[in-house]
């Protein structure tokens, strides 16, 4: 049996090593969909869940929750089950899921198909941000091909298992990346978050048990099932197994996606892969998880910190979706927070007061501060508004909106002196 070829530590961005992998014939010649067939015809869903749990795979959408554990929460006394793939990818600085789906689509599709089997779902919805219009149409064609090849449809390979995949386009709303807002949007009601609990594995899409996972998370699954949990754990650290696609952007010479083992350092990412800072300027700050993250002071300690779920918090930030935005000495933090707040104020869904009102106020304050129309009292007020929002918002967006503000004021005070 042919096996998926992995070069170095590239598990997900394999199209960079196998240029034609986007063609169905090339992917299948390499053993593509053999794993799916093997899983459906010879394995039990519980075995698949166990293997993914043992691999140490954690969610790549931001929260880093162990994937196998999430799958085990699915309520087996309530049917049908759904798998919903989060392809909303709207966090500023994040552009990894798009590359995976565009360039290595069959591995992504095989991954979600194996995952659906594991949780006993016969239907998968891929929720893509509306801007991925062309990509969604390409996926529709690829799904059609899979149906023709009898890899999707009724009673696959003579078993009792049936599976279908549908794409659903969002229409430009960051909040729909939050999993319960996403489910509401998919149900045709306003895309605002739901109160939790219950969590989706208990009550999700159409009130049925549902797993929502990120694109990158699931794109790992077919290879993990083929090569085993130990193989996957041979990459990364004990608590952060495997590889991760880092979306590198901002003031670097070579922005782009870089897949590295978890535990690689910021220095490697920025200087070895990203070609260093534009015009050899001095690096100032790192946003480790897109616009939602606290700003890390880019000193030697930070640069030598491993990019892993357990290490980044020591710097007062999170690994999150690993969208690494680089700020150099030319960037004024007053400008930065004005930009992030502009984003969050625009994207706040308005359902709860602290986030809606808080962002409105922060928007006015950051505008004034950036344009030099204020004194120190506005900075203090801004800091207060942000801190008062923390812990009071219905969903994580409200919290996210305060991160850059509070950390910048605290860690880069010189930028806020009038």
């Amino acid at each position: 049996m042919a096996e998926h070829k992995v070069t170095g530590h590239r598990i997900l961005l394999r199209h960079r090593d196998i240029p034609e992998i986007g063609k169905f014939e090339v992917y299948t010649a390499q053993g593509g969909f053999d794993t799916f067939k093997k899983v459906v015809t010879t394995m039990q869903p519980a075995d698949v869940k166990k293997l993914v749990l043992d691999s140490g795979l954690r969610g790549r959408g931001g929260a880093g929750f162990p994937t196998g554990r999430k799958w085990m929460f699915v309520d087996d006394n309530n049917w049908p089950h759904y798998l919903v793939v989060n392809a909303d990818e709207s966090e500023p600085g994040t552009f990894k899921d798009r590359e995976i789906m565009e360039r290595n689509p069959w591995q992504f599709l095989e991954g979600i198909m194996c995952s659906a089997f594991a949780i006993g779902a016969n239907e998968i919805y891929i929720y893509l941000r509306g801007e991925f219009w062309q990509l969604a149409h390409e996926l529709d064609r690829q799904i059609g091909r899979l149906r023709k090849e009898k890899l999707l449809g009724e009673k696959l390979f003579g078993s009792d298992y049936s599976l279908n995949i549908f794409t659903h386009l969002g229409a430009g709303a960051y909040i729909c990346g939050e999993e319960t807002a996403l489910l509401n949007s998919l149900e045709g009601v306003l895309g605002q978050p739901r109160l939790r609990p219950p969590f989706p594995p208990a009550v999700g899409l159409y009130d049925k048990p549902t797993v929502v996972n990120n694109v990158e998370t699931l794109a790992n699954v077919a290879l993990i099932l083929e090569k085993g949990a130990d193989w996957y754990r041979s990459f990364g650290t004990t608590e952060s197994a495997g590889t991760k696609v880092f979306s590198l952007s901002g003031r670097v010479n070579k922005p782009g996606n870089y897949e590295l083992p978890l535990g690689a350092t910021y220095r490697e990412l920025i200087y070895e892969y990203g070609g260093g800072i534009i015009d050899n300027k001095k690096i100032k700050g790192i946003m480790s998880a897109g616009a939602s993250s606290a700003v890390i002071i880019a000193n030697d300690e930070a640069l030598d910190t491993p990019m892993a779920y357990e290490s980044v918090p020591k710097l007062g930030a999170d690994l999150g979706s690993a969208s690494v935005i680089i700020l150099d000495e030319t960037v004024d933090m007053r400008w930065l927070i004005n930009k992030t707040i502009h984003f969050f104020n625009h994207e706040s869904c308005g359902k709860c007061t602290p986030c809606r009102e808080g962002n409105y106020w922060m928007r006015h304050l950051t505008e004034r501060i950036w344009h030099g129309q204020s004194d120190q009292s506005d900075v203090i007020l801004l800091d207060n508004v942000a801190k008062n929002m923390q812990g009071k918002c219905l969903c994580a967006l409200g919290e996210f909106s305060t991160m850059a503000v509070v950390s910048s004021i605290e860690r880069f005070p010189e930028d806020f002196k009038a």
Partner: protein, 166 residues
């Protein structure tokens, strides 16, 4: 008579088949896209027709239209140029690009060219932050990305539309 249904009967049937029969309001988003396919915006009449197909009120459809940035209840340019000026792109020159583009083509942000051909908007992150300056074009033909752009590239694109629409 439901004109939307007359016009797109086959597409509507395909869209509805994606969702459980008793959950057809899930189709509201794809149906709004369908209505926008002609003219790049949705009319009140079309909203009420969608409501009729899905057995929900026109107000419910209108609130969904209002919630998302890719739905428009007013006509804009035939081609909507949506330039990303969000923070990561702005760190790579997107704001200057937008200013220069507007100056070059003589259309302000949020406005439409006199001939109605195109409008220019500033939008949030489009998941292409490593390829700034970039924008997407929303038109009757869907959405298309244009990355690593210069004002000259964009100018040539607009001239191409002018020829096409003659």
């Amino acid at each position: 008579m439901n004109q939307l249904h007359e016009k797109y009967a086959k597409e509507i049937a395909e869209i509805l088949a994606k969702y459980p029969a008793d959950r057809k309001r899930s189709a509201v988003m794809p149906l709004i896209y369908l209505a926008q396919r002609d003219g790049n915006y949705i009319t009140k009449q079309e909203m009420s027709e969608i409501g009729e197909i899905l057995e929900i009120t026109t107000t419910e459809v209108a609130s969904i239209v209002g919630f998302y940035t890719l739905y428009h209840d007013k006509p804009g340019g035939k081609y909507r140029i949506q330039v990303c000026t969000d923070m990561p792109c702005a760190l790579r020159g997107a704001e200057e690009f937008l200013v220069n583009l507007c100056e070059n083509v003589g259309v302000k942000v949020g406005e439409t060219s006199e001939d109605g051909l195109f409008s220019i908007e500033a939008v949030m992150c489009l998941a292409a932050c490593d390829k700034a300056p970039m924008f997407q074009v929303q038109s009757d033909d869907g959405i298309e990305y244009h990355e690593n752009q210069t004002v000259e590239d964009t100018r040539a694109l607009i001239d191409g539309w002018k020829k096409k629409e003659g």
